[in-house]
């Protein structure tokens, strides 16, 4: 599965990726120029191995034309902001629009409030981000690439959702229409799936971050 990391510059996209793929974090990491790539496999509860190919993108506007080319093949997007910089959260809407313009309709999006270790500098409230995520039908989590909290969860959660979505879709497309999943139109399925996930995700994450 191809997943993209997007969001304003300096919110910690590259460190989220290095934490997830190499369990590394660097305060000295440089700005991403263009795109960078990394990969990792995880196993699902039912023993399936999911391989993620993750594209990390440059945050600056000038590079948008290049980075948006990578949205196209992506089935998932982690939209990252920095909980200690309000502007990076207010720009989330713009990033969602980018996704709507350039990505597949069914892309699974997760809003990620990174740098949750900076408790004393927090300016974006968890509730606000949660509400925003709910309104927009995307899931939400707060992470810290620095202390590694929720990083694994963020990636495995989006990968699992993608996996479920894809397997559901493929079952739907089976003419037989198996009893396990209620057959439904593709576009309807997206909305419902996302909303459900959202409700589930919210309480779990709340206790972690505050």
């Amino acid at each position: 599965y191809t997943v993209v990391l997007i969001g304003d510059s300096a919110v910690g996209k590259s460190n989220l990726l290095s934490r997830f793929t190499r369990d590394e974090f660097s305060l000295e990491s440089k700005s991403t120029i263009g795109v960078e790539f990394a990969t990792r496999s995880i196993s699902t509860d039912d023993g399936k191995v999911l391989k993620a190919q993750i594209w990390d993108t440059a945050g600056q506007e000038r590079y948008r034309a290049i980075t948006s080319a990578y949205y196209r093949g992506a089935v998932g997007a982690l939209l990252v902001y920095d909980i200690s910089k309000y502007e990076t959260f207010s720009n989330v809407e713009r990033w969602l629009k980018e996704l709507r313009d350039h990505a597949e309709n069914h892309i699974e999006v997760m809003l990620v409030g990174n740098k949750s270790d900076l408790r004393h500098l927090r300016v974006v409230m968890t509730e606000d981000a949660e509400a925003f995520a709910q309104e927009n039908g995307i899931s939400f989590i707060e992470t810290s690439a620095l202390d590694a909290s929720n990083v694994e969860e963020a990636f495995s959660s989006i990968l699992t959702k993608i996996y479920e979505k894809v397997s559901r879709k493929s079952m739907n497309s089976d003419a037989a229409g198996s009893g396990k999943t209620k057959p439904m139109a593709n576009n309807a399925s997206k909305v419902i799936v996302v909303d459900n996930e959202n409700d589930d995700a919210a309480p779990a994450k709340k206790k972690k971050c505050c």
């Binding site: 510059s9 600056q60 000038r62 034309a65």
Partner: protein
């Protein structure tokens, strides 16, 4: 001054002692290690006024129309406390350095400026400057003023309690110092080497033979001479010795004034966005090198990038420019560091790891800053379309690299193509940062000797990229698509030496000779 003072050049007496020639001998002794690199002695006879106000004609100086309006509008943005950084810039002899408290010192009158043509612009700008200087007055009123450059490093000052919008968090103020003489770094040159003698002979000519210098520089420039050689080859320093001192003094002054004006003027949304992005990137520029963690260096780079970006609105600031500016800055800084720590046998890599920069005085640092700015500006002139909207220069280079690779090694080219790996995936950063990210910084600087010697930065670089791919051809041919990207975005060059770089350059040279006509512009 000691760095606390908010000062500018003006017309209050310097108490000037010393002369240019005496100064030169002090520096010569300093360079030989006979005296401590303490405070710079001050100034020449009072024959010239301090700062001009001219910002180079034809370049965007400051949007004067916006000054009044933007200033009066109180910000409703989210607030945060900000740092105001006072900084100083040396002037070349024989310019007099005179210092007064800012409150007493309006910007130098435009009439004093050699660029009187800019008078109206300058006058407008100085009105804005006056106002902000007045506002700063209480802070500086009791600061002792001296004409001597600070011995203690100037630490950026915090305006205690100042709460302002992000847009106004910017450095201010200029101080003028005496400059170290031009020739100083070459005192560190080991003249027993024939190659160094050649450089010395070329550089001491009344009119420097730039083509000969290019040819010599192509194969590498001694670190202590790089500032001079790069400044000449990039077209910043004039080749005529009799004009050089004057022109450089004027350019440095111009930079100081431009930076000062822009930093003091109220920020509009454009300036605000530029500064915000620069401040996101500088703390993650070459942080593995201790000197880049120093606040003084960060502030200097911030001023360089901001000044350039605001004056070049077609591109503004684009990520990656920080790497380019840092590379130039290091180049100009290294000889001054060697002087500061009094180590003629310095090693660049060690100097870059200096934690304590207190031996580096303000005059040296300001010289480095002004010269780095102009060379950055010259360099960017030739590669500007790498950074404008849609980045046409980058794409042109990527296409060219693809054609080149096809010509150099069709097998590798098709392996990449079949694996779905376009040039864009790995070489985008190569094209943007001119391989600074791919090599340890001292090696990148060596690589750039050749780029500077090749007059077009963009052209030869593509051949170097081609040679770089071929250097790893065996690894690449065996790699799968994923391995290819991972390998190419993190090349195993940490153990490279200058010899490896030189081999790479010779291969690039051969490739250029063989394929340039085939590959095209």
């Amino acid at each position: 001054m000691d760095g606390k003072g908010s000062v500018c050049s003006g017309d209050v007496g310097s108490g000037g002692m010393g002369s240019a020639s005496m100064l030169a001998s002090v520096f010569a002794r300093l360079a030989r290690g006979e005296v401590e690199p303490g405070p710079l002695v001050d100034v020449a006879p009072a024959t010239e006024q301090g700062a001009g106000t001219g910002v180079e004609t034809g370049e965007k100086a400051v949007d004067v129309g916006e000054v009044g309006g933007a200033r009066s509008a109180p910000s409703t943005r989210k607030t945060r406390s900000v740092r105001r950084q006072h900084w100083s810039v040396p002037m070349h002899p024989p310019g007099v350095v005179r210092v007064v408290p800012a409150a007493l010192c309006p910007r130098p009158a435009a009439a004093d400026s050699p660029q009187a043509a800019d008078a109206s612009q300058a006058a407008d700008a100085s009105q804005a400057a006056d106002a902000s200087q007045a506002a700063d007055a209480p802070q500086v009123a009791d600061t002792p003023q001296a004409v001597v450059a600070p011995q203690v490093p100037q630490v950026p000052q915090t305006d205690e309690g100042e709460v302002d919008s992000p847009r106004s968090s910017r450095p201010v103020k200029i101080t003028l110092h005496e400059l170290p003489p031009e020739a100083l770094p070459s005192a560190l040159l080991d003249m027993s080497k024939a190659r160094n003698q050649k450089f010395d002979a070329l550089l001491s000519a009344p009119i420097i033979d730039l083509e000969a210098l290019r040819a010599l520089a192509w194969s590498g420039v001694p670190a202590v001479l790089r500032p001079q050689v790069w400044a000449l080859l990039l077209g910043y320093a004039p080749s005529r010795a009799d004009r050089r001192v004057g022109v450089l003094a004027r350019k440095r002054r111009e930079y100081v004034d431009a930076a000062n004006t822009l930093l003091e003027a109220p920020f509009g949304s454009v300036e605000d966005a530029i500064m915000t992005q620069i401040r996101k990137d500088l703390p993650r520029t070459e942080q593995s090198l201790a000197i880049f963690r120093a606040e003084r260096i960060q502030s200097a780079l911030e001023r360089i990038l901001f000044t350039w970006a605001v004056r070049n609105p077609a591109s503004g600031y684009v990520q990656g420019m920080n790497d380019l500016a840092a590379t130039l800055f290091v180049t100009f800084l290294v000889p001054q560091l060697a002087i500061a720590v009094n180590d003629p046998h310095h090693q660049t890599a060690l100097l870059l790891q200096l934690e304590d920069l207190s031996e580096l005085n303000e005059a040296q640092l300001a010289l480095v800053e002004a010269d780095s700015y102009w060379c950055f500006s010259k360099m960017l002139d030739s590669i500007h379309d790498n950074f404008i909207v849609n980045l046409p220069g980058i794409y042109r280079n990527l296409d060219k690299l693809e054609r080149l690779l096809g010509a150099m090694n069709p097998r590798l080219a098709s392996h990449l193509a079949e694996s779905g790996i376009s040039m864009m995936l790995f070489a985008f950063r190569w094209m943007t940062c001119f391989l600074v990210r791919e090599f340890p910084l001292p090696l990148a600087v060596r690589l750039w000797d050749t780029y500077v010697a090749e007059s077009a930065f963009n052209d030869f670089h593509v051949y170097v990229c081609g040679a770089l791919l071929l250097h790893f051809v065996d690894d690449l041919l065996e790699a799968s698509a994923e391995e290819l990207i991972m390998f190419l975005q993190d090349l195993p060059t940490a153990t490279w030496t200058e010899t490896d770089i030189e081999e790479l350059l010779s291969k690039a040279y051969v490739a250029h000779s063989l394929y340039a006509s085939k590959v095209g512009p």
